[in-house]
Symmetry: C2
Subunit: 458 residues, 2 copies
């Protein structure tokens, strides 16, 4: 059995890559209205592929934005049903002049496939199609019931997916959800992501005088909104790197001693990280390693600050307004609304006299954590181990995938994150690429997984 | 004698306003290359006017930028020589849609003349021409030797004037310099400005990782340049509103008890200021009134902050860079270079680990203070008192006019600031205007001044 899909992947590799190239050539940039036709064409391409492999009920299901591509194969009677989620839309390509090859002209260099979407997420979506195709071809049928849900709006925040999932609970019902849109720890370090951070986003607006003022004629006598803003923002962190917002850590589920020792066995990647990012030192909350901070500790990050003059040279202005954009990454069991309330209270408390602060709450997403003793998670680890020839680690990820919580809570289903990307693969940046050794081994990992799932869940 | 110029101004008023309208119609915006021809045409107009009145050696003297309009009348043998400085260039007019009448179509409404440059500074330059014209017409000659130096680059920082003054020291040599480009305390509050603040400008650049980072994948483990920047910036002020940069106040010449009590007699304008600016409270260095803070205390103002995402919605980015623009207003005897060094040291000292800060020093200008017992200043006060029918106050101004220090130090001459503008007249903003009662009384003030100068300086 193993032999058969292995041989199939070897024989078909060139053909598979050619097909993946076709998929990657669609500039399916969801955020740019001028690419709406490309997004639609890409969805059509994907649904054609699904039909050709043998999936049924394939359709472009409308949302208020770009369509969801659905398809299923439900003839494995008495066996588990899996929902596979991914996305066929991609990020914009700017600044395009920093790409070494055209973003929508896929090119293989040094064992890496370069193209926008290669890793995030078309390459990984494509692997799911080809893993099931291999099982069909070598087995005549699939070992599980399969439902695909591929969305076209992940890169614009999955605006319409929660509503879609709620409206189609029955259609999407499954025993487990599998998502391949995360990263492994390294090119040769298979790992299962069992936790994601949540998100709470807000904007702070500070308003001073009714218009911009001359800093000579008024400077010294009124509160400068930029001074007030930097005071508010600086007050949000303590000197030890922890967040100073009152009650911020109240409901945090701390990392367990087991988790911390498991992470410790991975060894430090601090030196590597410093080199990759070209920074003289790492920095963060005292008492935790950088990896623990990213995976298991909440943060408050300022994502943007703006106010006053930004041009060449000097303008002696006291601006009327100043602004900041902030996102907090949350861990279980922090509640985004509670955190937003606490940050808002902090902003008001630290607003100096003479200006007015307003908080606009913009983003909310729960953290997600699957216990790593769940059999569907354990099986994922075993499948990676078989394909990569070494044991898989359990990791978390510092990012947020809000749809994970949506699937988990609306469908009441565990979500298994089987990612094959690498953090160094430039998602959202120029020269995005996908490491083909992970494409090859990932295809096999998925086959092992589907073949073992019935036994694991029994 | 008095009667004669008074009558002359009454008879000629309509004609004078028509001529001023012509002067104001030139869109002599020095900062916009597309208006270079307008600036040149305006300089020609001004030199023609000077010639027609009887001035000699009138010429457009070239600089690397726009020309200086020079002219003189040097036949008052044995009498003082005065250099009158002003500028014929104006600020841009954006946002033009906020003007109630076209910026270069002068219009009188409610006793105010609306046009770009009406008050800053064409209106005041024109008054000097007409005051001397009146003395010529009623007297046949002038009571002083006069040199005009009208520049076309004041609104772009008098880029070439210091070099021009150094190169033409002999030509410009005078007993006193008179500048009419400042404001009075109120429409009916004649005042002599005897002090200006200096300026020290810089930019702070904070650099973190080599590129923008995903705040989920890296947030918590590295120093966010925006966090580092707001920490640096907030550390620059103490809670009591004073500047926290070490040594910032070391060489400050404090306000004298005489000055403070003179200012106190002007009464508080706090309520008025709060209403004008629409702020809930004034704010500034403890221990000083708002007026004292603006006129006589140094400040450190952040004029701009920028870094990271500024668009709609949210972007979960840890930016690679963050920036701030800062200007300090200086008082005697602070040295701009010394202050810039101190701020730079402060920035470095408060830069947290994991990022690199750089300071670019951009602006330097000394503060200026004329002792108010100088006879040329005392005469100015008496001249205002005669024309306005009430005693003039001595005031300072919080702004900076770097050329004042240039004239004073290069020509070794006292500078008398006889301004007829009002702070409420929207210089640099839409609906700039000039209050015509100050035009009328200002013309008379100038005549009294020139007629009295020989005696005063004797």
């Amino acid at each position: 059995m193993t032999q058969s899909f292995d041989t199939y992947f070897e024989q078909q590799r060139d053909k598979h890559l050619r097909e993946l190239f076709e998929f990657l050539r669609f500039p399916s940039i969801s955020t740019q209205p001028e690419h709406a036709q490309d997004v639609a064409a890409c969805a059509e391409f994907l649904s054609d592929k699904m039909r050709n492999i043998g999936f049924e009920n394939v359709s472009l299901m409308p949302t208020k934005g770009h369509p969801v591509v659905y398809g299923d194969w439900l003839h494995a009677e008495g066996k588990p049903t899996v929902l596979v989620y991914g996305h066929y839309d991609v990020q914009p390509v700017d600044p395009v002049e920093l790409w070494d090859s055209a973003p929508f002209e896929p090119e293989i260099r040094d064992g890496k496939l370069y193209a926008r979407g290669a890793s995030d997420d078309k390459g990984q979506v494509f692997m799911h199609l080809k893993a099931f195709e291999a099982l069909f071809e070598t087995n005549g049928e699939l070992p599980v019931n399969v439902k695909f849900c591929f969305e076209g709006e992940e890169e614009i925040g999955s605006l319409n997916l929660p509503e879609f999932v709620r409206q189609h609970q029955e259609l999407l019902a499954a025993d487990i959800v599998v998502i391949s849109d995360t990263t492994m720890l390294g090119p040769d370090m298979p790992s299962i992501c069992y936790g994601l951070r949540g998100l709470a986003g807000l904007q702070v607006d500070v308003k001073g005088a009714k218009g911009d003022l001359h800093s000579g004629l008024y400077g010294g006598a009124i509160q400068n909104p930029l001074h007030a803003l930097v005071h508010i923002l600086d007050s949000m962190h303590n000197d030890d790197g922890s967040v100073a917002v009152e009650g911020f850590y109240n409901s945090v589920t701390d990392l367990t001693p087991d988790e911390r020792s498991a992470y410790a066995t991975l060894g430090s990647n601090d030196a590597e990280l410093m080199k990759e990012l070209d920074v003289p030192a790492l920095y963060g909350e005292a008492g935790y390693t950088p990896r623990e901070r990213i995976w298991g500790r909440p943060t408050l990050e300022i994502n943007g600050v703006y106010g006053g003059y930004q041009g060449e040279g000097t303008k002696t202005v006291i601006p009327s307004e100043a602004h900041a954009k902030i996102t907090c990454r949350l861990v279980p069991a922090q509640d985004p609304d509670d955190i937003l309330d606490k940050v808002e209270a902090h902003v008001q408390k630290h607003t100096r006299p003479g200006v007015k602060s307003t908080v606009i709450k913009t983003d909310r997403g729960n953290a997600y954590l699957t216990p790593f003793n769940h059999p569907a998670i354990q099986l994922a680890a075993e499948s990676y181990a078989k394909a990569y020839g070494k044991p898989a680690s359990f990791s978390r990820m510092g990012g947020s995938i809000p749809v994970v919580d949506t699937f988990s809570s609306v469908l009441n289903t565990p979500v298994v994150l089987m990612g094959f990307g690498l953090e160094s693969e430039n998602f959202h940046a120029p020269n995005e690429h996908f490491t083909l050794s992970n494409f090859d081994r990932g295809l096999r990992t998925l086959c092992y997984y589907w073949l073992g799932l019935e036994d694991a869940l029994r």
